[in-house]
Amino acid sequence: EDKVVQSPLSLVVHEGDTVTLNCSYEVTNFRSLLWYKQEKKAPTFLFMLTSSGIEKKSGRLSSILDKKELFSILNITATQTGDSAIYLCAGDRGSTLGRLYFGRGTQLTVWP
């Protein structure tokens, strides 16, 4: 059975802190690992990781995938109140493109 486990489930930090969000996965026919930010209804795409050991960066956010140990991390440096959201990771079950299996998410709250 496919499994995506995120930790921690919730995290409260102050502005300027650095946070690391974890995602471990066991996904059939694994193709890629995706990270999303969800503030209201629609998840917003952050990263798609396909290869091990290659860090992807976008501003203060970065992410890396370890396909041997089956996990990924999402780092956010110098956090801001606007980073408060649920962060979701999902494994792409690659038999056909895009069948994503989601974890339960990490609720991040950033206090001013």
Partner: protein
């Protein structure tokens, strides 16, 4: 990325009725999907909407309850049939594969459904 719209954005329905949700994309995409997010839960894939053929449903979801259409490469509908309060969820369409998308996957704004 693609611009994805969904209609309606929210609705309140009586049990036993049906609701059809529309998803429109501003460019042709290879894959369209429908997800459900029940209160306090993560997203669960309902089905893959296949253009010109029957949708492919995930375990636990059936066509009689969630009929799906995809008449072309930019549009799909999901119907939630014979609704019960347990169907109260956010329903999201997502798209992947297309000239503007590479291999990334994007979500529409969602439809918040409440069943009384």
């Amino acid at each position: 990325s693609a611009v994805i719209s969904q209609k309606p954005s929210r609705d309140i329905c009586q049990r036993g009725t049906s609701l059809t949700i529309q998803c429109q994309v501003d460019s042709q995409v290879t894959m369209m999907f429908w997800y459900r997010q029940q209160p306090g839960q993560s997203l669960t894939l309902i089905a893959t909407a296949n253009q010109g053929s029957e949708a492919t449903y995930e375990s636990g979801f059936v066509i009689d309850k969630f009929p799906i259409s995809r008449p072309n490469l930019t549009f799909s509908t999901l119907t939630v049939s014979n609704m019960s309060p347990e169907d109260s969820s956010i329903y999201l369409c997502s798209v992947a594969g297309g000239l503007a998308l590479y291999n990334e996957q994007f979500f529409g704004p969602g439809t918040r459904l409440t069943v009384l």
